[in-house]
Symmetry: C2
Subunit: 402 residues, 2 copies
């Protein structure tokens, strides 16, 4: 009985779509001393409200341990459901489900909506983690071309005509592109999706991270306006990971009651409920310290974005282009056609700087000449030095494609 078991032959068919991207493997190479990394979408840890959380967690565990440490309902901590509902237009607490990070929201949505072979519409590029969440349910992706204003309406309509199970959109400071969908495009998306009867999943993790400019209405709120009431066509996801702390794994899904009800049932089978202490801690924090926390984050990240953009202008060679995001954590960069971001990545590692090559954000396998830079997690001095290094690597790479 000592012979090794061939597990691959025992796994379900979908297991072939449960894989690590080669990029994740590459990124492990970036864990070296002296590396400056713009790769992870990580919040700046020095901004975590650690002391306030230390006090709040101790207080909760002293005063409400029976609730914070016990099993709780799948739907989530009632006070936090109420808080979330109050942030959104025409929303009741029973339309809110607390989830273990937006990633779980995506997994559960995949579970209830995607059959093997179902079409799912995604932006191109889109959030890599959403593809990881949906892939086990074996969808076929329909990709929608974007420009700096978001999905191109003609491309979107062509895709909606093919009847996808839903369209997955990140309209606000998209991961990976940092793009902000314009108001006109938002209206068009909501209108077209309603017309074709295709639900929208709106992933709004970066909503609060705007640096000047006006906040645009969510797809969720626009859909309500257009319908003049009712529960609508949009499932809205957001998170406390970018505003408070990702390590707590608390996020939320909001939407039509039949969808939330089915998500609750799916979550019950998936992990019973999100950590009780975690939800209570988040509630204490949003109730007493969110605005101050947001001000700190916006000020710090805006300054880092500015430093990175300035350094890029100074150090990056001709032929490389990038956008000027109005919020979020990311700058999206294009190499000239023919240049390869993975090849650049390897050169950059030699220079001790890391980023994420853009191809895995593309469900259709395109985007070889794109890459994502995160500006939230390094201080200005390191950003300058890192971009200087990236400039050297980029010059080398561009030599090759001349």
């Amino acid at each position: 009985m000592g012979s090794p078991i061939s597990w691959d032959s025992r796994f379900a068919r979908r297991a072939t779509r449960i894989t690590s991207s080669t990029i994740r493997e590459l990124l492990k190479m970036a864990q070296q001393p002296g590396m400056i990394t713009f790769s992870g979408g990580l919040p700046a840890p020095e901004l975590f409200p650690a002391e306030a959380m230390a006090e709040a967690s101790a207080r909760i565990l002293r005063e409400k341990a029976n609730q914070a440490l016990q099993y709780s309902t799948t739907e989530g901590y009632p006070a936090l459901r109420e808080w979330v509902a109050a942030q959104l237009p025409n929303t009741q607490p029973d339309q809110v489900l607390l989830v273990s990070g937006s990633q779980q929201g995506l997994d559960l949505l995949g579970k209830i909506f995607i059959d093997a072979g179902s079409a799912v519409a995604v932006e191109s590029p889109t959030y890599m983690g959403a593809l990881s969440a949906f892939n086990p349910y074996e969808p076929e992706y329909l990709t929608v071309a974007m420009d700096e204003e978001g999905m191109v309406p003609e491309a979107l309509e062509a895709v909606l005509k093919q009847g996808p199970r839903f369209v997955y959109a990140l309209p606000t400071f998209q991961n990976p592109s940092g793009r902000l969908m314009s108001l006109e495009r938002r209206q068009k998306l909501v209108e077209l999706a309603g017309e074709y009867g295709v639900p929208i999943v709106e992933d709004d993790a970066y909503a609060e991270l705007y640096y000047g400019g006006q906040k645009l209405p969510t797809l969720y709120s626009l859909d309500q306006q257009m319908r003049g009431g009712g529960e609508g066509n949009v499932v809205y996801l957001s998170t406390f990971s970018k505003t408070l702390a990702p390590g707590l794994r608390v996020a939320y899904a909001v939407g039509p009651r039949p969808v939330i009800h089915k998500l609750v049932q799916a979550k019950q089978g998936a992990d019973l409920h999100t950590g009780s202490l975690n939800q209570m801690l988040v509630y204490e924090m949003v109730k007493y310290g969110l605005q101050e926390q947001l001000s700190k984050i916006r000020e710090t990240y805006a300054a880092r974005r500015d430093v990175m953009l300035e350094a890029m202008t100074q150090h990056l060679p001709k032929g490389v282009s990038w956008n000027q995001p109005k919020g979020g954590m990311f700058i999206w960069m294009q190499l000239p056609q023919g240049a390869d971001a993975v090849s650049l990545f390897k050169k950059a590692l030699e220079q001790k700087v890391a980023f994420v090559p853009g191809q895995p954000f593309h469900a259709d396998g395109s985007g070889q000449n794109t890459l994502r830079l995160s500006f939230s997690n390094a201080d200005p001095e390191l950003i300058r030095e890192g971009i200087r290094r990236l400039g050297r690597a980029a010059e080398e790479e561009l030599e090759l494609v001349k």
Copy 2:
């Protein structure tokens, strides 16, 4: 656009298997003032080490906030992986995956092993939550008859011959039956599963809750012994929910590296990782206070079990039978054939006492005359009064079947 959307027609096929059991709906009726409830498998909250956790969480958030609040690896907190590995024979930390409750371990195992129509072997009765976890992957269940010593070998072999994807077993103080699989049956199970090439999923949530008697070896360790090394055929699940606190949602899966590797990839898409603070808090607690905590739990639960058994002898009518569990949280009760536990449940509610009818623990829909009583969550005085009330309800119910 104001007309309501028919969501049911938009859901995936599997959504029809993502439902709440009628029992869960019934149990909501048990949330009334004055109700004595033996229904939930809830730890006694007065035993939670709340003060120690308050101190530990504050310390972690003051000294290691950058780690406790940040994204972390999918595999889990390294120190806790090491601790878990050290508890198990011949196990390395890279064979350990921290998960968000055993429930998530079950979901991820379903995801990587079950195709629509796959056979899965389960004990009869089995843990209801496992069925909820597996159902979305659309298995067909093969049920294995049990007696007080565990699965009956002949029934087991007949099922293994049908080539299930895995056999799911709760050998130690099973939920719901409280049964302890005998050593001989454990050996037989491991041997037969190896022979037929069927992996075992061992769910061992109650391992530490034994009240006297000797600890029996796990299926995981027996499999290793029989093989004389190698990674084996058993995926082992256990949890900190019953020993420390379920509200933290920290559990673990241990097994052959190819399985753990695939589970890690599946978990990455499902929720990125289990809460960082939660894992660090669990680590502090198991390192410094687990044995004391276990002593308290064992002493308290053993006393409650004894009180419940004594009260049952005193108050329950003839024709009703139950077992004498050597550990865990549950007593398993049988009504005479023809009597119905749901009908008894409704009568019990009138008497202000609740339990869980046994039918939803049966994948084949049998077990109408069975029910589960939990003794962990009520103090002795309430247990006596609750069983007195149950006795009255049972007499009424048995009148009907005479």
